[in-house]
């Protein structure tokens, strides 16, 4: 099975350490959600995985071969970056949408022009417009088109739905699933709009404190997370020794989010309320502000 592996990746910008000894294996045929707070290092990780950014130490391999400067490996990887165009230089901002997509087609060997055209039509994109002149939602559409039409085995999208309206977001996720079902490509999607994408992610990767906090099957993770509330003493008793997050105390009542380990169970009690939590709540519990 084709895999993309990063081993002991660290990245420093001057004295600032953005990633520290990251080990991650991405398998072919999965949709991963890459979730982390702003500045957690998600974009840096994706750019290192795609050899667009050199790591300070560690290495990335595709099917056992180093990705760095390896055309064979890079042909299988696409990192469709979030576009931040400026009209002041002669960079991406001054390119027309058509020119940008054409440039992408030069470099991706499996580029699917028909799919690109279909998406342009569906998104109602004006390809004659300069990239600096289009809205944020349209910029997202352009990155989505590049990602999907590249047909790369490992495709990374950084905030693909930023600025997209709800109709287009739904269309994107539908198209993504279609593409996934047809081709078995691997997608890694970095997003802050978690709940909407939760059903799409087969696995989630939480990034925290310059590293990978967890990488787990989404259903399994959500399944082992539970919100326990009730009288403080009863909650403390029921959750003693367990991994507790997001503690909230109001008077004598207490609420905690528990991340259950294999075999652990909350003892049922009439005083306690047990509520399932969604992926967003799991993320907030594990990566939220520490009181």
């Amino acid at each position: 099975m084709s895999t993309l592996v990063c081993s002991n990746i660290s990245k420093k910008y001057g004295e600032k350490e953005v990633l520290k000894n990251v080990n991650l294996t991405l398998e072919k045929g999965k949709i991963y959600g890459l979730i982390g707070r702003n500045g957690a290092g998600k974009t840096t990780l994706l750019s290192i995985l795609s050899a667009q950014n050199p790591a300070t130490s560690g290495e990335v391999t595709w099917e056992g071969e180093k990705v760095w400067e390896n055309r064979k490996a890079l042909n299988h990887i696409c990192f469709s970056r979030e576009l931040v165009p400026s009209a002041s230089n002669n960079g991406v901002g001054t390119m027309k949408v058509r020119e940008y997509l054409q440039a992408a087609s030069y470099y991706y060997p499996n580029w699917n022009q028909a799919l690109a055209e279909e998406l342009v039509k569906k998104f109602e994109l004006d390809v004659k417009q300069k990239i600096a002149k289009i809205s944020k939602g349209m910029l997202s559409m352009v990155t989505i088109i590049v990602a999907l039409a590249s047909k790369a085995d490992f495709t990374f999208l950084d905030e693909p739905v930023a600025g997209l309206d709800v109709v287009m977001r739904e269309y994107f996720y539908r198209k993504l699933l279609e593409e996934y079902m047809e081709t078995g490509r691997t997608f890694v999607i970095s997003t802050h709009i978690i709940e909407e994408a939760a059903n799409v992610f087969e696995e989630v990767i939480f990034v925290k404190n310059h590293g990978i906090l967890l990488k787990e099957n989404t259903e399994h993770l959500v399944g082992r997370c539970v919100r326990v509330s009730g009288p403080a003493e009863a909650v403390d008793l029921a959750t003693a020794g367990m991994e507790i997050h997001q503690v909230e105390t109001i008077g004598r009542s207490k609420g905690v989010t528990v991340l259950l380990k294999e075999g652990e169970q909350i003892a049922k009690s009439p005083e306690l309320q047990l509520q399932p939590v969604n992926l967003q709540n799991v993320f907030v519990a594990l990566c939220g502000l520490e009181e």
């Binding site: 750019s47 795609s50 050899a51 667009q52 950014n53 050199p54 400067e69 390896n70 055309r71 064979k72 890079l74 042909n75 299988h76 990887i77 696409c78 990192f79 970056r81 576009l83 931040v84 165009p85 230089n89 002669n90 960079g91 991406v92 390119m95 940008y100 440039a103 992408a104 030069y106 470099y107 991706y108 060997p109 499996n110 590049v146 047909k151 790369a152 085995d153 081709t183 490509r185």
Partner: protein, 225 residues
């Protein structure tokens, strides 16, 4: 997913030829339009003063051909070329192929400018030696442009500003020598050509330094678009 049957080196060459070639064409068109417009416009102005039309067109053409040569490093390579690096690499282009890609763009631009000016020079009855000097200007321009591009990538706007100031000072200095018809231009046009060869060596060395700098800068470059 199976990649198409093209070899990897062939694929690199084709993608670079298309991407950087297109950027070179676009930049060249921009230069040519400027030269043609100003040559035409300035010649008309002089004609109204009662000067010889053909001679004036030839003079104006040479002035703007030189300006186009001077713009090669600053606008051509630095302003139009460098931003393409991030774009190409964001599509998975390797660093090594991007280094030759931007150099291909610079040389393609220089060759096109040379051919365009050579045709104009021939049509307006210019000398062969003048084209020799012009070739020297273009080779120097490619090297200078590559070094300027590296500086702006390494040090951001400060590097760009510094190189622009340095380049402008060098261009003005050269221009003063040219206008004053001092030793440089006389020797270049002279029979001995004493300075031509050393200057050509300096220009080639600049190009080599530029290529080495690209290698150094791009090996640690973080892609931004």
């Amino acid at each position: 997913m199976e990649t198409k049957s093209k070899s990897f080196s062939e694929q690199s060459v084709i993608s670079n030829l298309k991407f950087w070639g297109k950027r070179a064409e676009k930049t060249f068109l921009f230069f040519v339009l400027i030269v043609l417009f100003y040559t035409f416009f300035m010649s008309l102005t002089s004609l109204s003063a009662g000067e010889d039309g053909a001679a004036e067109v030839a003079r104006q053409f040479r002035i703007y051909a030189v300006i186009m040569g001077l713009m090669l490093p600053l606008i051509g390579i630095n302003s139009f070329g460098v931003p393409g690096i991030g774009i190409a690499m964001s599509f998975g282009a390797r660093r090594s192929e991007t280094i030759w890609g931007i150099q291909f763009m610079a040389w393609l631009l220089a060759i096109q400018i040379f051919l365009f000016v050579a045709v104009g020079n021939w049509l307006t009855g210019g000398s062969f030696k003048w084209m020799g000097i012009y070739l020297l200007l273009l080779i120097t321009g490619v090297g200078a442009g590559e070094l300027m591009g590296c500086a702006s990538m390494k040090f951001g706007w400060k590097g760009a500003l510094l190189t622009v100031l340095f380049y402008c000072a060098a261009a003005i200095g050269g221009g003063v020598l040219f206008i004053c018809k001092g030793g440089l231009i006389l020797i270049l046009n002279g029979e001995t050509g004493i300075l031509f060869l050393p200057l050509l060596c300096v220009a080639v060395l600049l190009c080599v330094a530029g290529a080495l700098c690209w290698k150094k800068i791009l090996s640690a470059y973080e892609v931004k678009v």
